[in-house]
Symmetry: D2
Subunit: 299 residues, 4 copies
């Protein structure tokens, strides 16, 4: 890309943000913007299409712990209507002494869960040197909230041909979030799902503060699908169901929730994981809302 063209793009980043207020976007807009591409992008996660009018539920444990846990959870997720399975094999943990994930063994258990249920799987990559291995197993590759501005990782994810599931960081503005996604699209990979998962604020009654207004802003500014993760946002399973309903109502393209057969034994994030029974109750409420959803899409 010539320098002149690059400079235009940089201006476009500012124009894009200014546009939230002023609605005066420049023609040479970012690849992630609706100006560059007005119609919704459909992301193909194995057999599942994310975006474009459907509401996709992604469920599974925080981390893959062992065969029983992963396969049991996967079976209930499928039975009650999840479209995609989640599970962490590489876990970013605040402390070096916390459980760090099973690594390759975890990836193999995810593949086993996929064979068992027929559902595609999404799992996180933490280091650019692991991309190839994770891409071998996963249908969708997740970028965690703490890596949303790991630009070196993002640039390499632009080079591969797998969909990317990208979480907003705790401190990422909407402008920065879109610029981070632009790294991937600029590399040639337009299969990106954005995920709002709560931002860090002064409030500590919930783990983070779920920013559902961001869904409105993102859906207006970008053609990429936007999914909400209420589990990490609140850190408390009692609040997941109402916030899942709110996510659907606000116009998101789906949710990602944590679910565990025996949350009280989970090695990670047990407090925020739904039991299969709670997951079922949530799905029933979401399904009942689906009929209404058609008229809502013009957020």
């Amino acid at each position: 890309m010539a320098l002149a063209s690059k400079m235009e793009k940089v201006e476009a980043v500012d124009a894009l943000t200014a546009g939230v207020v002023a609605h005066k976007l420049k023609p040479q807009a970012l690849l992630v913007s609706r100006e560059a591409k007005p119609e919704d992008t459909l992301v193909q996660a194995g057999p599942v299409t994310v975006g474009g009018g459907s509401f996709t539920v992604i469920a599974g444990p925080c981390s893959v712990e062992n065969p029983e846990q992963m396969l049991c959870t996967a079976r209930w997720a499928q039975r009650y209507g999840a479209a995609i399975l989640r599970g962490g094999a590489y876990k970013p943990r605040t402390s070096p002494y916390s459980f760090q994930g099973l690594g390759k063994e975890g990836l193999e258990l995810l593949a086993q869960a996929r064979r068992l249920t027929g559902l595609p799987v999404v799992t996180e990559v933490m280091d650019s040197s692991d991309i190839e291995l994770v891409a071998e197993y996963a249908d969708v590759i997740q970028v965690g909230a703490r890596n949303v501005q790991n630009f070196s990782l993002l640039r390499k994810l632009g080079q591969i041909r797998k969909p990317i599931f990208m979480k907003r960081g705790l401190m990422t503005t909407i402008k920065e979030f879109l610029s981070a996604a632009e790294y991937i699209l600029a590399g040639g990979n337009d299969q990106v799902i954005l995920c709002e998962r709560g931002i860090r604020t002064f409030e500590t009654a919930t783990r983070n503060t779920l920013d559902l207004s961001a869904v409105c802003v993102l859906k207006e500014m970008t053609h990429l699908p936007v999914v909400v993760d209420p589990s990490h946002a609140v850190g408390n399973r009692r609040y997941v169901k109402p916030l899942a309903r709110a996510s659907l109502a606000v116009g998101a393209d789906g949710i990602m929730v944590e679910m565990h057969c025996t949350p009280e034994k989970a090695l990670c994030d047990g407090d925020q994981s739904l039991t299969p029974k709670e997951f079922k109750a949530m799905m029933e409420e979401l399904n009942a809302m689906t009929a209404l959803r058609q008229g809502w899409l013009a957020c």
Copy 2:
């Protein structure tokens, strides 16, 4: 109240908050807490009951500007299903040189709008010396976000017999919000409606960040009705409708939205005011959701 009893109450404030996580509340809990009173409080705003299963829509202009504006807006609000009218006669403004409200003249226009529509009215009081006057005109008295810790004002509002509509401050924790309401209940007035209206965070794409998780936490901790104000939270009329749907879906007892016959001429907050047509569209979507709402209440 004896000192020993007071000290127990102070401990109860901490216990209440700790309880968000630990669910081990002390018996001698705050008056606002579900421990003190498990069943929902119903707040009687003129002929309208807020809380206890209904979904109340409050609508009207940011500030009362003149007879045409107030009466025109009130008529559309009523026609499309608002249950309560809003309008500011005393306006808290960041700059001393901005429009500060019509004062008593504004209160009289609100009373006229009530006669015209039959709807009760809510309006803000900014100073304890105005309480008597405002109470003469209003069915519900509003405490603005910037006065939520004006303890002197709160104490006096505990002495009157009018319902209070209390906005969460831009940086008020849920604990502080409940403690502020406790000032009113401790004075003998239990007719208090709490209102989440967005908190201040690092994100500037929206005016503030609407904290819908707070609705879940509040509904769990207190018996008081909880209403959401999406207009002030986002500052942009395009996002009000989806966030109104999300407010209903998360389990709130109602919403307050700004509406103006000619938003482009509004003296205050025109950008976030719905037109009557947009208000109608919002009400249709909310009404369609109401049937589903019964099963959701156990947030």
Copy 3:
């Protein structure tokens, strides 16, 4: 003031803020701005002049509790070099069941402490109906952090002829802080001292986050003196001394610190109150820095 003139002032608020970055201020600037008045304002607190090159230390207990406590603390404050005494008679407390201050009795103890030491006193007013009474006793009237946008109170403080000591709120931007001070100057009272006392952020290791950069920005934008309160910012006496040094080093016009003869018995904020011995050690370090301070003023 004519409407045209008012509208110019409103534009000036925006220009003032934009000016932080752009340095292109309009001529018709706010009264608080350096454009309106380039030279430093000197505030006369009884016999003490605040601003204009001096470094003023204000010390005393969080709240006035009883004669022994107030007089003992006042004596040590004076002996070790405080220029102004502080002490709260009306206390804004999060919980209605916490100690709310001695009221008029507290004001009388402050007057007694002034007679004993010769030092002027600063104390908080919480309600506009108390202004007259507080002004009778105090040399300087404090507006607390929670009242910085109590515009009704501010407007009335513009009408009196006592200096105002105004704390920045937990959530107040620098722009809003200056606009709040403008309410007082617009009323005709230019004797205003601004006080940075920590803002609310995500960090909880300290009570709030002391924003010393704000001192630089304020000193550049306004001619009013700027004082720092490290005690409330950190909530921990161990950190008060180093932050007092940093406040002097950054170019503040003074500090306000909490001090108590027996902090372990304090009814309020004991953890952050210095003992007389700690206060002495702090004063020695500050005095040693004073000689260097001359060259620093052009912040």
Copy 4:
């Protein structure tokens, strides 16, 4: 490390944080804690010792741009008393279309600047696959604010034998910051310098909010040296000098500032870069304060 031992460490993370308030630390504390090692750690950056009573000034351009710029800036930095040179060869940029650094060519220019001045150099690594190359050139390796929780990178930096200069993230709590450093120490590398560089808050008058209280808390909790970067915190050269003085006054072990021979031509962060003349003025003020500093160390 056996699992039982690991579990003790995890408990120690919580104890460490609780200890900020309660001062009751467990014996089996984290490696970064003063409980594990009461005396200050000295970090050896080439010929320069950081920590233990000295005040180290690190200076240089945001990014290495070309030979003239780097060598000119390095010469002035040395002449006026900088102890370590900085300069970015790999630049984390919000937009993929911004200047991303010269890469290896930049490392070579840094090595040339070191030969010219005799000063050691610090430069950032963004990806674990670049560690080996960067370590070949740099005396100290920097972890940027956006990588402070890139745990995969941190773990690898624990394996090398170069000092690490680690910036606090925009929304990293002090607890998380120490846990991130623990990743490096747990790997066997105890040569870590911590750097406070401003956190993200609601205030936008400065780029970020410099948290000087964090220096006090960190110096109390950990034996690692703590340095302050005022340039990135405020984003405005006019505020760098007063905040550098405040950093010294609060008890930091040094500062890192941006400096550029011709800031108006800088490809990155020109607004916050000092000119050589401004750098000289800052150094003179800091040098004058040094004599006082001895008594201050017991922060």
